[in-house]
């Protein structure tokens, strides 16, 4: 390799891209379920992520408990919230066979309601969670691994793999995959598709809660930050391929690496343009996405 080739810079760019991709996967896996499999256009997914951030912050601030551990322990709370939201959505839209556009406006409403509720309860100041590893960084030769990004990366990969294993290796999980392909056929086989879809949506909100804890460990959070993530979560889900968990992971890594390399070598300001330009190209030439069915 040429003498002045910035190996350290490239190596770090790859590591940073993967770590970022891991976080993006955690934020987007919920959308891959709700939007990819259930065709529910959940624009408010980032709002639930921010809600997860604040709950993790609350526990961390009061008890000093690790925010990510707290979010995993509290994920059943988010699961229950997800079931409630889906029940309202089902009664108002699915049952009447409304197409997903109506659900879109419904979730825009939920997004605003959640944001204002957070402002009223937590105020508008920047919150951040402190954890034991927040300030430690491992150095392996030229490459450094900030724990603030590594721990969320590891837990995120575990969560995504967990969701995938659950979907492919358990009865309920396979029912969710089936409902994604042909709800009618499932219904003919006597499966209560409402129960399956409700479970899947609740699962997607639970992942949002955990992803929220990652976010507040990585950077300070404020109620209106959720709006920035709307584009990203759908981009990752669609780029990776609708309803494919591996696809979401791949899409997240592709966007993470694209952003990291653009920021390092070209100009950080162009990172979103490169990522979303990539998405546009994929949609134009391979609408099913990288791994889509």
């Amino acid at each position: 390799m040429p003498a002045d080739f910035p190996t350290a810079l490239v190596l770090n760019a790859v590591v940073a891209g993967l770590l970022l991709g891991g976080f993006y996967a955690a934020v987007s896996v919920g959308v891959s379920i709700s939007f990819g499999m259930l065709d529910v256009v959940n624009i408010a997914h980032p709002a639930f992520v921010i809600l997860g951030s604040y709950i993790a912050y609350l526990v961390n601030d009061r008890t000093g408990f690790d925010p990510i551990a707290a979010s995993i322990v509290l994920s059943p709370l988010f699961f229950a919230l997800g079931m409630l939201i889906y029940r309202i959505y089902y009664l108002c839209f699915e049952k009447r066979g409304q197409e997903s556009l109506r659900g879109l406006a419904f979730f825009f409403g939920i997004l605003f309601i959640t944001e204002v509720a957070l402002v009223l309860v937590f105020g508008v100041d920047y919150r951040m969670a402190r954890s034991a590893y927040s300030d430690t960084t491992w150095r392996l030769g030229p490459v450094d691994f900030p724990m603030r990004l590594v721990v969320p990366f590891l837990v995120s990969i575990a969560m995504v793999i967990g969701v995938q294993l659950f979907l492919t290796h358990t009865f309920f999980g396979r029912a969710v995959l089936a409902v994604a392909q042909d709800a009618l056929a499932l219904r003919l086989m006597g499966v209560n598709t409402f129960r399956v879809k409700e479970f899947a949506f609740a699962l997607s909100i639970a992942t949002a809660g955990v992803a929220g804890a990652f976010l507040i460990v990585i950077q300070p959070v404020q109620p209106s930050i959720g709006r920035e993530y709307i584009g990203l979560v759908f981009a990752v889900c669609v780029l990776g391929g609708m309803g494919s968990i591996w696809g979401t992971l791949a899409g997240a890594f592709v966007l993470g690496l694209a952003e990291s390399f653009t920021s390092t070598f070209f100009g950080p300001s162009w990172a979103p343009a490169v990522s979303f330009g990539l998405l546009l190209a994929t949609l134009a030439f391979k609408p099913a996405g990288l791994f889509g069915r």
Partner: protein, 415 residues
Amino acid sequence: MKCLAAWFSGALIALCLVAAPALAQQPLKIGFGMSLTGPLAGNGKAALISMQIWQEDVNAKGGILGRKVELVYYDDQTNPSTVPSIYSKLLDVDKVDLVVSGYGTNVIAPAMPIMMQRNMTFMGLFGLNVNSKFGYDRYFQIMPSGPEPAIGWTQGFFDTAMGLSPKPQTIALVGADAEYPALALQGAREQVKRSGLKVVYDKTYPPNTVDFSPILRAIQATNPDLVYVASYPPDSAGMIRTASEVGLKTRMFGGGMVGPQFAALKAQLGPLLNGLVNYESFVPEVADRFPSIEQFLAKYQARAAKEGVDVLGFYLPPFAYAMMEVLEQSIKAVGSLDQAKLADYMHKTEFTTYVGKVRFGANGEWAQPRMLAVQYHGIAGNDLDQWRKPGRVTVLTPAPYKTGSVMTPYQDSRK
């Protein structure tokens, strides 16, 4: 279609009658829009609380011109397109006697045409370079960024840097793709031209960037003597945290970071702030130069925690209060609400306020820049009380407030 206009104005008049003021002794109404939701809500709410404290103080002393002061305000949602409607409602429907601005250039500029049409005296709260295009002679701005705002804003960092020996040669400029950082970088570029430094990195990043390591590594690769950053709170936290993770080596790091002034980031970042050179508007180290500010901060801090806003209140609250003090003193001196006389008085007078002496230049900006450039040092742990009393901050410029000189390079002073 015609029913549209009738119905439309009827509904609005009906609503405004409901909100019409009581017929008792006419209160003196001061109107403004303020960001109570959206990204800048943190600053908006902190400013609102400070103005409410001023209102209580003034009414306790019997109000102004014998009239009780009332604040009439609406939430502009950090969305500039709401501003023209808000200010024409304040002036035409609520018929407020005086107007002041919301927080930040984005919401001050859209109000300017309405102020100019009505020849209102208009006090601005932390607008950077707003009047340069309008050239309105009744515009005043409370942030001490000086006659050339973008230059004055960056003066402290560059004066300190050029004072180093040996003289620094190269500088890296980085900032967010947003209004304030873009203006600050413009000022920095002008300073670079004047000081003959060589720019080795000059790029911007999107405001919602999550990971800053690619940016700082690209900067480190250019091996700059100085790194000037213009950023908002989340990016500032990201930059400072990543600088320690990446082990950034440069002589001076910081400059125009919004964030470290707030309690939230002071607590979250703690020791990571050591060695950073940044701007502040007030620090306990200069408290002795502003006698009554302690009293105000006590009142503010008592309410801030409950309202979920910046607990310390060093950055914006004293200036929001001072803005109202200037108005108060001008009305009392002029003895009426005549906008022309008020503006004229404000141009001529040096005001003494909670933030010390305030004198306005021709364009309504401060006659002299007085942003403090400081360096944080000796911070241990993440508790907030260490910041309430002097000892953690060295004030570098301006000269009258200097309490020590800068420690370089950044990586050594970080320990």
